[in-house]
Symmetry: D2
Subunit: 136 residues, 4 copies
């Protein structure tokens, strides 16, 4: 089961080519990730302060399939998967709602659980592994 | 009667000071403006193509009253007012929802109806004056 | 004497109207402010950690005089002025270099020296009052 | 031979984690691409108007190796390569200057030459194939 986030494309998302700037597709996905965590009771900003652990993005990839214009209604779905005890991936699909709905982009991010204090990888916090398990 | 737009603060809105970057308060307001026009049936992107008229922002001002953090729930209200046959202003309030709710910023933008082809000010299109009249 | 910062307009600065998004004029000015402080030996990010004092923007205003397009070469000049022992203002001019050079925007920001720990205004740190004095 | 672009990290590039927001690494690379084309005499914004051809990004990938903080001095190098008569890739390295200099990210974008009017892929314009050939 995947999580779905809805969003309208705004002027600030676009560039002079008249469509969403390519890097902003990744921001749209991160918004969906923040919303999914929030729906699970995790607040990313406080999460770090409480656990001393950060889970920065180590890799991203994106296939841009269709341009998105200001005012377009979007659905971003995401599905996380464990990669190791220290890391997980999230696969996203950005769909431009229609009719007809059209897949506009596929994005993937990989996240690594890290202790800034120890300067090394650490096991994912239970709140995150629990979130990942429930999204399967 | 004013229009209300709801939005959650995202990581992409914030900066290294841990709170929303000052210029992004203005973006939040423009999102509310886009949503208000859309609710009135006006699509800003297509509006220009159809009428050949643009209504760029000529002035902005902002009072930043409270910092906003990632995850904060916001309500942006706006109220437009005619300034002349060629121009209008919008007054915005950004409120951080609580409890207790707290006013976080007051923003004002002034917009001038312009014909890029004629390179001069032109009367506001009826769709906009109608929208402004209905928000009073 | 004022400080000058040079910058080329990038795609990421623009929106679907084909020109720089209005809120990004303020970002251009903040970049010039960061560069001016850096030229004076102040690193904003470390400054907070070292002094425990932040100087957030309490007000901004902008007059947008000309649109700026991708590739335009800009000069941003700034001039700070003390407002009180706790606050200062900066007046910016954004000029699109020519020939002929054209003034594209006037922006003003007001900054208030604050102690997040004490939750109150505090006198400006000497490094900042020194910077302001030298820019007169 | 590769092209090098220099840039200082700004507050607007960062997020509440205190470092450059992951999607902004891609923007940094696109800036370098715009600067490289400009140095070769190509103005991306006018290029489309003159040729009726756009070269949007169809894929991107990024390895984020080190966090970047506000004030960090960066060098972005890029190297383009033809993929087909319709497409090319650019490999970027973002280096945080030191001493010691440290590789902070590797990014790759793939671009496809497209005619919006014909709604199909078209051969790369000679100005772009010439730029790619000279960067080898």
């Amino acid at each position: 089961m995947s999580f779905a986030y809805h969003r309208t494309v705004r002027f600030a998302d676009t560039d002079a080519a008249g469509v969403v700037y390519f890097a902003n597709f990744l921001s749209l996905c991160h918004e969906a990730y923040e919303e999914a965590l929030s729906a699970h009771g995790i607040d990313l900003a406080r999460f770090f302060a409480d656990t001393g652990i950060v889970v920065p993005i180590a890799k991203s990839s994106a296939d841009y399939l269709r341009p998105l214009a200001c005012g377009d209604k979007l659905r971003v779905t995401l599905r996380p998967a464990l990669l190791s005890e220290n890391s997980f991936a999230i696969d996203y699909e950005i769909t431009r709602l229609g009719p007809p709905a059209k897949l506009a982009a596929r994005v993937r991010t990989e996240h690594v659980s890290t202790s800034p204090r120890l300067r090394e990888r650490v096991p994912l916090p239970p709140a995150l592994t629990d979130w990942i398990a429930r999204q399967q």
